[in-house]
């Protein structure tokens, strides 16, 4: 990287002569060392998964959750500086609850992402703060049914439309990813962290169209992709954490929950099996991809 040490990279909110904000780029570096996180938007739900490197034998097994619930229907997973991720989640929760206080209804995943994008971006504007050292994946299921307004106690008029519009298609799965710059996009499949290149390559092979893979298949693919992305740092052990949000008639009833242990273990078993099968061609692909990055 040129112009490091020229003084334009010492403070946030300062442009270098060629128009870059170095502090944001350095924050991205913090993300690139984090455990791989992926999100998959399936036709009937969203899966979030993260690779947690076991840094010490003394860590309690299965504790130290990294995927957080923001509102009933939204989950967030971050890669990068873990405490920054917690700050991000705290803000997401505040946004979701203040939306509820104002509109008496759950926030849509798109609006939540928009607000968080604005929040993260604000941390690139001032020299008194530093940017977030995380890239966060936000997964949600926006209700497809008419849900009661918060605090609603009756049913409204029994005759006439009662202000309700029927037969409108709405809601569904949503997946967004926010970067340290505050930039965010909607995704069919998102990946960040150390193994993102390998993970992205795998995500691109999936059919994530509205008629594509189901949530349950998504869970298995997410597990497999984390295992594939981990290949490079094989020596380190890791734990897989996964959550999902299904449609209202699916297994989680529109709520963000941890993937049940049995299903997760089954997905891990399949992931390990598939790795044993095609170890060699996996390696080749990755070396090609890695060059593209820098």
């Amino acid at each position: 990287m040129t112009s490091i040490g020229t003084g334009y990279d010492l403070s946030n909110s300062v442009f270098s002569p060629d128009g870059r904000n170095f502090q944001v780029e350095y924050a991205v570096k913090a993300v690139e060392n984090g455990g791989t996180a992926v999100g998959i938007r399936c036709k009937d739900g969203v899966v979030l998964a993260i690779e947690k490197i076991i840094t010490s034998k003394l860590l309690k097994v299965g504790a130290n959750k990294r995927i957080s619930t923001v509102d009933r229907h939204v989950g967030v997973v971050s890669s990068g500086l873990v405490p920054d991720g917690r700050h991000f989640v705290a803000r997401a929760r505040d946004e979701a609850s203040s939306w509820r206080k104002f509109y008496k209804a759950p926030i849509s995943t798109a609006m939540l992402s928009n607000r968080l994008g604005a929040y993260v971006q604000a941390y690139t504007l001032y020299s008194s703060v530093r940017p977030f050292g995380v890239t966060s994946i936000i997964g949600g299921w926006d209700s497809e049914a008419d849900i009661p307004v918060d605090g609603q106690v009756g049913n409204g008029p029994q005759v006439g439309a009662g202000g309700k519009v029927t037969d409108v298609k709405k809601g569904g799965p949503a997946l967004y990813m926010i970067e340290p710059s505050g930039q965010y996009w909607g995704y069919y499949g998102a990946a960040t962290g150390k193994g993102r290149q390998a993970a992205k390559a795998e995500l691109e092979k999936l059919d994530l169209s509205p008629t594509g893979i189901s949530l349950e298949e998504g869970v298995k693919e997410a597990a497999r992709i984390i295992y594939v992305a981990h290949e490079d740092s094989k020596d380190k052990e890791f734990e897989l954490e996964m959550t999902w949000i299904s449609s209202l008639d699916g297994p989680t009833k529109g709520r963000h929950q941890e993937v049940p242990k049995e299903l997760r273990e089954e997905a891990e078993r399949l992931a390990k099996k598939s790795l044993e099968g095609d170890d060699d061609d996996e390696e080749e692909e990755k070396t090609g991809e890695e060059k593209m990055e820098e």
């Binding site: 570096k29 913090a30 860590l59 405490p83 940017p131």
Partner: protein, 264 residues
Amino acid sequence: MFRNNYDNDSVTFSPQGRIFQVEYAQEAVKQGSVVVGLVSKTHAVLAAVKRNAEELSSYQKKVIGIDDHYGIGLAGLASDARVLSNFMKQQSLASRMTYGRPIPIERIVNMIGDRAQTNTQHYGKRPYGVGLLVAGVDDLGPHLFDFQPSGMTYEMTACAIGARSQMARTYLERHLDEFQSSSREELIKHGLRALKETLPQDKELTVDNTSLAVIGLGDEAKGKIEPFKLFEGQPIAAWLETTFETQQGEREGAAEGESMEVDQ
């Protein structure tokens, strides 16, 4: 001459994405004397070495009880720990006041984690210069958490922080499988032995320089606990005696093998 320009404040990332001020704060933890913590299925134990400024002075405070159901052990800046412990006490009382419920350990740990994170992202603040081990009991059983100046918190089965704590961690790793099923007394002994590992050759654990705290699920029905209790001075004499008397013989034999692995 090389000078690191990226370490003046906690709002500057280095080109590698590191925050040096936070990393320096972690060093302050290593300056403090050691604290060891470990959990079994029924108990959590903290053990710490206290320093004194000079022979005639008193010893520092290493363990603070926060509420009936939990307490902390600290390594690093004691005054930062006091700020955090006051905050924890307030939150704990608030939980008992508003819900009639002892605050769940994970939640209070996350609260101080979030507070510490704020200090690493805003100019004019500095990271806390203290590491904590939080040991307590709640609905889900006994817990041990490690808190670091970065705002990072981990739930552990056993942990040691402070000067030369690597020695203790090595001991803990080696006996990790025994803790789960340990009795209260066995767990205390493991804690003291791990603590002993960190001492230089010429130093011993004494009733004056050792702090020990125990918290556990009570024998009685659900909801009853053995409250967090700090033992110092004469009350721990018996533990020190039984732990190291019986150990003496075994230690001579094991010493060689151990020192090879400990080396890092």
